[in-house]
Symmetry: C2
Subunit: 197 residues, 2 copies
């Protein structure tokens, strides 16, 4: 039913949502808390949106929480095409970025033009990591795996030979930039883990 | 670091977020679109929050999309204690509801009081399914598995012996109540599938 244009619009939206399902098959470096398996990027996206909702008042600068949540819901969609890059892995950054841009073109391009353009702009903002909303969103995205690893006795840190210094250099300042109270709270637990490792 | 009260608050929030991880191990009746495995309630919660974001303009009545998204992010948390009840399964409704209330008490009770109370009220509103926001949120929660089944050649309908009439009685009117344009769009595909089944 409906007008032809409405039908086309709806079909494009449903095609995008079906494509998004692929994020449930992209597996990350981190394990779920019972350690039974790797976490996938779909459930990760849910968990960090919930993190943002619960931890918003610890943002360093005032944020529009609803924009942050929307950002986090879409931030990993490009992984459907390019996979997840573990923060402690080695990869060519510029090559990765070009692949992610192409993936964003394809995936957000599935939507009706106006909606696709708006969500693509939100994804670009997250990637640029300069607005207050994006900085907080990045902090949340970075801190969840750390908490995951702490809750699972170090999790995948030994596997990736992560040191306390690497964690500080690659993750700590990014978390502290958007949510210093969270990093502050975690630091004693992190120090204790690496001291005992 | 931080004041003792802030530390307690942060600890309660992180405990809630760690508990929420359990939703990634609650498996639903529906399969992911490549049919390789059952969908879990964590990734389902992400997917329907994205559905709401993409399909909001098809809501029957004006909704506050950001409230709808927050509702959908938390709506399934009680399943950590009570599991998922397939809509086409058989269960004692009042027993289920009592168990869900107890689960909501426990899980939202992990949070600092003020935050726990606010999110519990949002969950109660979703369950009551009377506000415009909740009616639309329920429509989205109900329609995603239908689309999933359509995209996977009937999916788990044969397994649960679902008939076209059951689908209309148990799902259709709930979807149509909050998002009639979506149900209208799907009906020809649903009729075609059951005619061929
Ligand atoms: Ca649900």
């Amino acid at each position: 039913g409906g007008q032809p244009d409405q039908d086309t619009d709806m079909s494009r939206r449903l095609a995008f949502l079906a494509e998004a399902d692929g994020l449930k098959s992209v597996y990350r470096a981190t394990r779920i808390l019972d350690a039974s398996r790797r976490e996938n990027s779909g459930e990760h996206s849910w968990h960090i949106a919930l993190y943002a909702l619960i931890l918003a008042e610890h943002a360093k600068r005032p944020v529009d929480l609803d924009r942050v949540i929307r950002m986090l819901l879409i931030h990993d969609l490009v992984e459907i095409d390019v996979g997840d890059s573990p923060i402690h892995g080695d990869h060519d950054i510029s090559e990765m970025e070009a692949a992610e841009q192409a993936a964003a073109d394809r995936i957000f391009g599935l939507l009706p033009d106006e909606q696709g353009t708006a969500l693509r702009a939100l994804w670009d903002e997250f990637e640029a990591a300069t607005s207050d909303d994006a900085v907080f969103a990045k902090s949340i995205d970075r801190v969840q795996p750390v908490i995951c690893n702490l809750e699972t006795g170090g999790g995948t840190w030994p596997e990736y030979n992560v040191t306390a210094q690497q964690l500080e250099d690659r993750v700590g300042w990014k978390v502290a930039k958007g949510a210093p109270a969270i990093w502050d709270h975690l630091q004693s637990r992190i120090r204790a883990w690496f001291a005992a490792a």
